[in-house]
């Protein structure tokens, strides 16, 4: 997280830590974690933790270790591309089903999914929150969770970012309606934050709460603007996938 601050896990109780590769995810209910497809495309049995802001083993152990039941990558994700040279991050979304239900509490609770109304379409200027243990301005990765607030911007802003060390031609990058661009004044997600939630406030509710509007997906340069998978576009797939894979008493 660029431009972020140390965060308590109680402020981001839905935050999931993926051990390897280091990444993030969003807890959406007792049995399911939402993350980016590129986080799990090479790992069908990721180890995850919830409930701890610190990655120190003794702290992590105080949280909950999550065991994978199965990984389901969106069928539209383009398999096989080398992550270092990938230019097409369309449909960068996956679901991880857990073997056992997560016990909720002050440090662990899910983030809401977007509703179907147009109010859940992020608008430029909407202020959201990101979190993770990824690269910061000063460190490749951090041991304590960091968070940041940043606004939604136009996708154009993300397109206009120039890479310091381009790995591809600008025109090669795929931008789609499945993506949200967000960032401002150096506030951005970075390597290691992938899969984490871009949380926006649920519209028109008396008691404030957040929903996962996007998932940290990719960007041309950390500290500028980042691209987030637009979760609202995948609600049908998410609900159908959870339904199809639910046993008795699951979602």
């Amino acid at each position: 997280i660029f431009g972020g601050y140390p965060a308590k896990i109680q402020s981001f109780p839905w935050q999931v830590f993926f051990e390897y590769p280091r990444a993030g995810g969003a807890l959406i209910n007792e049995y399911w974690v939402l993350t980016a497809a590129h986080v799990v495309e090479e790992n069908s049995d990721p180890t995850m933790y919830v409930g701890s802001a610190s990655l120190r083993m003794d702290k992590l152990e105080n949280g909950q270790r999550l065991v994978t039941e199965r990984v389901i990558v969106h069928p539209g994700w383009k398999q096989g591309d080398d992550l270092s040279t990938r230019t097409d991050f369309d449909n960068d979304i996956a679901l991880v089903q857990l073997k056992d239900p997560v016990k909720m509490g002050p440090t662990v609770s899910p983030i809401c999914l977007p509703g179907t109304s147009s109010e859940y379409n992020p608008s430029v200027g909407d202020l959201g929150m990101i979190s993770g243990w990824g690269r910061t301005e000063k460190r490749l990765n951090v041991i304590n969770l960091r968070g940041a607030k940043l606004p939604v911007t136009s996708l154009e802003k993300c397109k206009q970012v120039k890479e310091d060390d381009p790995k591809a031609r600008p025109g090669d990058y795929v931008f789609s309606d499945n993506m949200i661009c967000a960032g401002e004044k150096g506030v951005d997600s970075c390597d290691g934050d992938s899969g984490g939630a871009f949380a926006l406030p649920v519209p028109n509710v008396k008691n404030p709460k957040f929903y996962v509007a996007g998932l940290v997906s990719w960007g041309k340069k950390c500290g500028t603007y980042g691209i987030y998978t637009k979760v609202k576009n995948y609600m049908d797939w998410i609900l159908k996938t959870m339904q199809e894979n639910s046993g008795p008493r699951k979602d």
Binding site: S11, F12, E30, K103, M104, S109, P208, K209, F210, Y211
Partner: protein, 422 residues
């Protein structure tokens, strides 16, 4: 040895008998015969009461005759001057002369023969109950048709015992009814009904004609009913003296009809039936009996259905009804079963929620499920109220028997993310 005949002559006969002599003759003829003793000559000193000289005829220690004086033949065709018939087969004749006989007396000559005794007519007591047949030297008894001679060879009886009645309804009468019943008989009838039925006997007044009791109230002919623990009777007389119906309280009954040697009465006729034992009618507020009857008796079957909210538990199985049968002992089968309030038991726990154990878990009780707030909430509304239903389940108006679910509250951090910017 018994003889068929004999002669008795006084001492010195036909000459004068001596003084002071006593002579005894013991006469015995065979059994079944009597003795015909007759004197052809009798010339003994006459004295008052034959005190001086006499000839005595003694039977069984009793003096039957004492003779003295002179006799002459009464009939020209018979030589006998004295003629006796004794129905016994033994006699003793004793001739006695005293010390002074001033005149010459020639004594006596007597003869005896064995004669047949007609046992059937010669005595006041008839030896046979029915037919007496005399023969020379004896007699035998015989019986009318359908009678048999008892072992005593004197009394006739009728074979009227041994009948066993097992039908639930029947009629029994004395032998030959309405013709006179046999004398000297003992008739035994048995009514044997299945357990669960009780014999009820009824005799119409006009169907009873038995030799009346004597002056002391004793029945010589009598009808007795003997049940397991009770006896009814003896009954006798013209017209049944007992109740209209005799409830014996027993499934077995022995009927004994005893008659003596006398009487010419019609007899009796009775009807009986088996009355099923009743079972108590139990009225409870928790159950309904089908069929509903004023009285239940042996073999009746009822279906007992519990009213709503009640059940009968047998082992681990609960049901809303059961069958009960009125048994032969007057008790209902399955009497241990009872309609009890349905108990829904301890409610099932739910994940991430709780329910308080109710004080009362029977029909109508109410429980509430709650979720572990603030991290979980009730999926289908705030209040998951469940009521113990008649089927033994905790039931919710919306979910039925399905348990409520506590699902995680989403999107609400425990602490806000506040950026402390400088």
């Amino acid at each position: 040895e018994p003889t068929m005949y004999g002669e008795l002559l006084s001492p010195n006969y036909p000459q004068a008998y001596p003084n002071e002599v006593v002579k005894t003759w013991d006469i015995e003829v065979p059994e079944g015969f009597g003795i015909h003793l007759y004197f052809t000559h009798l010339d003994i000193e006459l004295s008052e009461n034959c005190a001086y000289d006499s000839v005595q005829i003694i039977s069984g220690g009793i003096e039957e005759e004492r003779l003295c004086g002179q006799r002459t033949s009464k009939s020209p065709n018979s030589p006998a001057v004295e003629d006796f018939q004794f129905p016994y087969n033994k006699l003793q004749v004793v001739f006695t002369s005293d010390f002074s006989n001033e005149e010459r007396f020639t004594g006596f000559a007597a003869y005896y023969t064995a004669v047949d005794v007609n046992e059937c007519t010669d005595f006041t007591d008839v030896p046979c109950s029915h037919f007496c047949n005399n023969f020379i030297g004896g007699y035998f008894c015989s019986c009318p048709p359908e009678y048999f001679l008892h072992d005593d060879l004197r009394n006739c009886g009728v074979n009227c015992s041994g009948d066993v009645f097992t039908a639930l309804i029947g009629e029994i009468s004395s032998p030959n009814y309405p013709n006179p019943y046999p004398e000297n008989s003992r008739c035994e009838y048995q009514i044997r009904l299945q357990e669960g039925f009780r014999v009820v006997v009824s005799i119409r007044r006009e169907d009873f004609d038995v030799e009346p009791a004597d002056s002391e109230g004793n029945c010589h002919d009598s009808l007795i009913f003997a049940a397991k623990t009770q006896q009814f009777g003896p009954y006798c007389g013209n017209g049944f003296p007992g109740p209209l119906a005799i409830n014996t309280q027993s499934n077995t009954l022995d009927i004994i009809f005893q008659t003596d040697l006398t009487g010419q009465n019609k007899g009796w006729k009775l009807r009986y039936h088996g009355d099923p034992i009743p079972c108590p009618k139990v009225i409870t507020a928790n159950s309904v009996w089908e069929p509903e009857k004023a009285r239940y008796v042996f073999k009746d079957v009822v279906k007992i259905t519990c009213v709503e909210g009640f059940e009968v538990v047998e082992g681990n199985v609960g049901s809303t009804s059961f069958y009960s049968t009125c048994q032969s002992d007057g008790q209902w089968s399955n009497s241990r079963l009872d309609c009890q309030p349905v108990d829904c038991g301890v409610p099932e726990p739910i994940e991430n929620g709780k329910v308080e154990d109710p004080e009362d878990s029977t029909f109508g009780s109410v429980i509430h499920y709650t979720c572990e707030e603030p991290h979980y909430y009730m999926e289908h509304g705030e209040d998951a109220e469940y009521r113990c239903a008649a089927n033994g389940s905790w039931v919710n108006d919306q979910l039925g028997i399905e348990l409520p679910r506590c699902i995680p509250v989403c999107g609400v951090p425990t602490e806000p993310f506040n950026i402390q910017q400088r």
